[in-house]
Structures are given as C-alpha cells and as structure tokens.
C-alpha cells in the first residue's frame, strides 16, 4: 500500500502509513476517525452565539496553560506571594504576558459563560431532553465563580485580602452552620497563611479536578444528544 486516504487527506509518506497501520491493526482507529472526524457532520445553522460554549472551553484551556506556568514561580505564602507576583510581572521573561492572559482569561471566561447561558436560555435549548446538561452547566458556572473567588486572593494585595474578608463573612449569615462554614473557608477566625494555603490548594487542585469532570460530562452529553436543531 503506497497511499492512505483519511477523509479528504491523502498520505503518501511510508513512515506515517506504517505508523498508522501499526495502531490501526491494534486499536481499529479507522472507525473512530471516520465517525468522529472525517465523516462527521456538523450542523449548518450555527450562528455566532452558538460559539460561546466553545470559546469558554478554549479560554479554559488557556487558563490551564497559563495557570501552570504561573505556578512555576508563584509562592503561596503571605510573606512572598505578593513579591512573587511582582517578580513574575517584572522580571520573568514574558511573565507579564502569562499573568495578563490568566487575568483577562478569567474575566472573559465569565462574560462568555453568561453569553452562552443567555443563548441557551432564550432559545429554549435547556428543554427536554437537555435538562441534565443545563444542571451540569450551572455546576460549571458555580465552579467558574469559585475559581474567581479563590484566585482573587492569591496575589495577596489589599484589594484581594479585604474582598476575601468580606466574601468569607457572607456564609456566616446561614443559620446554625454559618459560622462553621466561615471558619472552614478561613481555616481560623481571620484571613491568614492557612486561608491562603487552602485557597491555593482549592484553586489549583480541587476546582480543576471538579471542572474537568463536569466539562467532560457537559461535552459527552452534547456529543450523545447532538447540537439542538434550528428554531
């Protein structure tokens, strides 16, 4: 065999063909390629507002990449957090760009999430059979807002410190368990090193794990049900 045809792509490179055949004979990837990529149909009625779920996902990927890069230099201690952010911004090559991307990505993500939600709402896409997808979407909205809330404290600035003081005060209004929630969020009675450590842990480990699971469910449900039809 001198050629390999994958949908519109024609491959003549012997090495690539050998590699493809190696995997194909073991996993049967041709079927997956044909069904999921090369002979997959996409709806032709999609407008600009249908893109915002995907744009949010793309921004989230950028958040993972820039967040991981920031993690390399960020120091999660009350003594050094602020200085490490200044160091990233001023001294690390392209640190300003990475931090700027993370900052703007977070803000744009919230805007695109709301636009996506508006599109789903006003065009009635949440209706049967997509109720479960609406619920996972709401979980994703809550997770995104939690990301913002925990991430905001990390640079340890006056604004972020006092916004967190006020923010963690809110659950104490809940009857009976309110003060426990506040204590749990802060890791004590005040915002301290313990608070910074747990916000950091939640921001870089707990929430990413949760959001990846729910994005997976969200997308798998779309793949199973298909994009909703035109109005």
């Amino acid at each position: 065999m001198n050629e390999l045809r994958l949908g519109p792509i024609l491959i003549r490179n012997r090495l690539l063909i050998a590699l493809y055949n190696f995997v194909e004979s073991r996993l049967g990837i041709k079927e997956i390629f044909d069904l999921e990529i090369f002979y997959k149909l996409a709806p032709s009625h999609l407008g600009i507002f249908s893109c915002f779920g995907g744009i949010t996902f793309f921004l989230f990927i950028l958040q993972i990449i820039t967040g991981t890069l920031l993690l390399v230099y960020y120091v999660p201690t009350t003594a050094h957090a602020y200085d490490s952010v200044v160091h990233i911004t001023n001294n690390i090559p392209f640190g300003w760009l990475i931090r700027g991307f993370h900052h703007w990505g977070a803000n744009l993500m919230i805007i695109t999430v709301f636009i996506h939600m508006g599109k789903i709402y006003f065009h009635g896409i949440y209706k049967n059979p997509r109720e479960l997808n609406w619920i996972t979407g709401m979980v994703l909205l809550m997770t995104t807002l939690s990301f913002s809330f925990t991430g905001y404290l990390l640079p340890w600035t006056q604004l972020s410190y006092w916004a967190t003081v006020v923010g963690t005060e809110i659950p104490s209004a809940v009857p009976v368990i309110g003060d426990y929630i506040k204590f749990l969020l802060r890791g004590g009675t005040d915002i301290s090193q313990v608070t910074l450590t747990r916000f950091f842990a939640v921001h870089i480990m707990v929430l990413p794990a949760a959001i990846v699971i729910f994005i997976g469910m969200h997308i798998l449900m779309i793949r199973r049900q298909g994009i909703s039809g035109p109005l």
Binding site: I37, L41, F101
Partner: protein, 154 residues
C-alpha cells in the same frame, strides 16, 4: 432529538455526502474545524490586545491592619454584593433578618435557576412564542446589570 443525532452519526457515507450537498449539514473536518481555528485566533488576538493595552493592575500588598475605605468585590460579584446591601431594608423584621434574607434569597434564586428546565416544560423554543420566559429572562438580565452598575457606583 437524541435519537436523531445517533441516526445521523451512523448514516452511510453516501447519505452524509447527500446531506452536505443539500446544505443540511457541513463536514466537521475541514469545514467546521477551520471555523473553530478562526474563532480561536480571534480570541487569541483579543486576549493579546487586552493584555498589552490593559495589563492587570496590581495594587498594594495586603495589610491586615489597614482597612481600605472602599471594599468592593470583582465586577461579577457586584450584583450579589449589592443584593446583600439592599436586603438591609428587611431590618424592620428584626436584626437577624437582613443577612439571612439576603443570603437565603440568593440561594433560592440559584436553586430556581438550577432546576429551571423542570419548571418550564413546554416544548416551544422560539422566544416570541413563549413571552413569559423571554420577558423573565430579559428582566433578570437587566436586574443583574442594574445591580452590578449600582454596586459599582455605590
């Protein structure tokens, strides 16, 4: 809906080609992928422009002993924050009331949004054929925006 998608997925290649020729669908690859790449590039361009022209502001280092005059949350929490402040009018019910009503009220709103598909079960999807849902949505969006602006300037 769900059944329809699976039927489309497992159509024979000839039938899929016919659908594309009739304009009922596009090929995912390369047509749809190319669109996605274009959108990703636009987003990247917007991001780089924003980051370069409006780099994120980093204020002073946190000082637990100096309380700033105006404490404001980020813009996306301003509406919720203003809602809590507005709930102060319930003070006439007692000192407990403003905080609990402010927080519980928002909890109830979020719960209603979570379960919204189970309240609105009519299959009609066109916005003008379901005026109550559409007006509710517009009103809720306007209140959210108004509360955000009010929170910003108060």
């Amino acid at each position: 809906m769900f059944k329809k998608e699976v039927e489309i997925k497992y159509l024979s290649i000839e039938d899929k080609i016919k659908k594309v020729e009739k304009g009922e669908a596009h090929w995912f690859f390369p047509h749809h992928v190319a669109l996605q790449i274009i959108i990703m590039l636009i987003v990247m361009g917007a991001m780089i422009t924003l980051v370069t022209l409006f780099p994120p502001h980093l204020g002073e280092k946190a000082d637990p002993f100096v309380t700033p005059e105006h404490i404001k949350p980020e813009w996306y929490f301003l509406a919720a924050y203003q809602f809590l402040k507005v709930a102060d009018i319930f003070e006439l019910l007692g000192r407990w009331a403003p905080k609990i009503i402010g927080v519980a009220g928002q909890g109830v709103i979020i719960l209603i949004i979570f379960l919204f598909p189970f309240f609105d079960r009519h299959p009609e999807r066109r916005p003008f054929r379901r005026p109550i849902a559409t007006l509710t949505g517009i009103l809720a969006s306007l209140i959210f925006i108004a509360m955000t602006i009010w929170g910003y300037y108060s």
